[in-house]
Amino acid sequence: MLLFYLFALVAVVASLLVVAQRNPVYSVLLLIASFGALSGLYVLLDAPFVAVTQIIVYAGAIMVLFLFVVMLLNAPHEDTEEDIERLRTLTGSSARLTAGPMVFGAVLAAAFAVELLWALSRGPLSISPGSEAGASVAQIGRVLFTEYKFAFEVTSILILVAMLGAVVLAQRERGPSTRRAGDE
């Protein structure tokens, strides 16, 4: 129980700081910390495979991608002088248009949390556990490749398409001036 509260506290605090932090590099690192805490929660939920996959895929690959992009773009901090200046040159006005969406977002988030707390306060959930089949990796593999094999195949095509899309979208525009001398 103590472990649950520890991990939950780390996850919530880290996520809050991700949203509140100005520096994008710190945001990415805090999100990695949050993923670590969630991975611990998955271990508490008897799901070691998901826990390790979370670290490998989310914290180890997706966040590295985010970090690369932040570093390559030299992502500016938000609300700095140059950001406001740039906005003025681009859109002709520096009027802050975001008061509305900010309030809407905050109200929506609060309403959602309140609603769930109310729903849960009405009594314990009546869920009857099914057969207690061991959640071993072998079991996961068995179910994945029999019941969900179509989704598995479609997901692999999805990743292929995403990879191609990312490469094409992030390409520099090809032109005669961008060819290096000595290209074969």
């Binding site: 949390a113 057969s131 490469v167």
Partner: protein
């Protein structure tokens, strides 16, 4: 012992934080990070219910959600790079060309 309700409340809190982040922040990368927080909250819900129901389907759906999140992060970041090349700004308010 943490019950199912504990995990669901935690997941709801994380989801709300992610939602607030998407609306409040004015940096494209932080918006994408908030979307990842939301996806993780949903993953936690799936695994918690899978544990409560005693079958393995929750973990399998989490596997697919992670894959889709990876694909979406890759394409989203490629779009962010392309946008940055045009306007040199990561502020979503800078991309107002299609506004009436």
């Amino acid at each position: 012992m943490p019950t199912l309700e504990h995990y669901l409340i935690l997941s709801a809190i994380l989801f709300s934080i992610g939602t607030a982040g998407v609306f409040v922040r004015r940096n494209l990368i932080t918006i994408l990070l908030s979307i990842e927080i939301m996806l993780n909250a949903v993953n936690l819900t799936f695994v918690a219910f899978g544990h409560a129901l005693g079958n393995v389907d929750g973990q399998i759906i989490v596997f697919f959600v992670m894959t889709v999140a990876a694909a979406e992060a890759a394409v989203g970041l490629a779009i962010v790079i392309a946008l940055f090349r045009h306007r040199a700004s990561l502020n979503p308010e800078a991309f107002t060309v299609l506004k009436w």
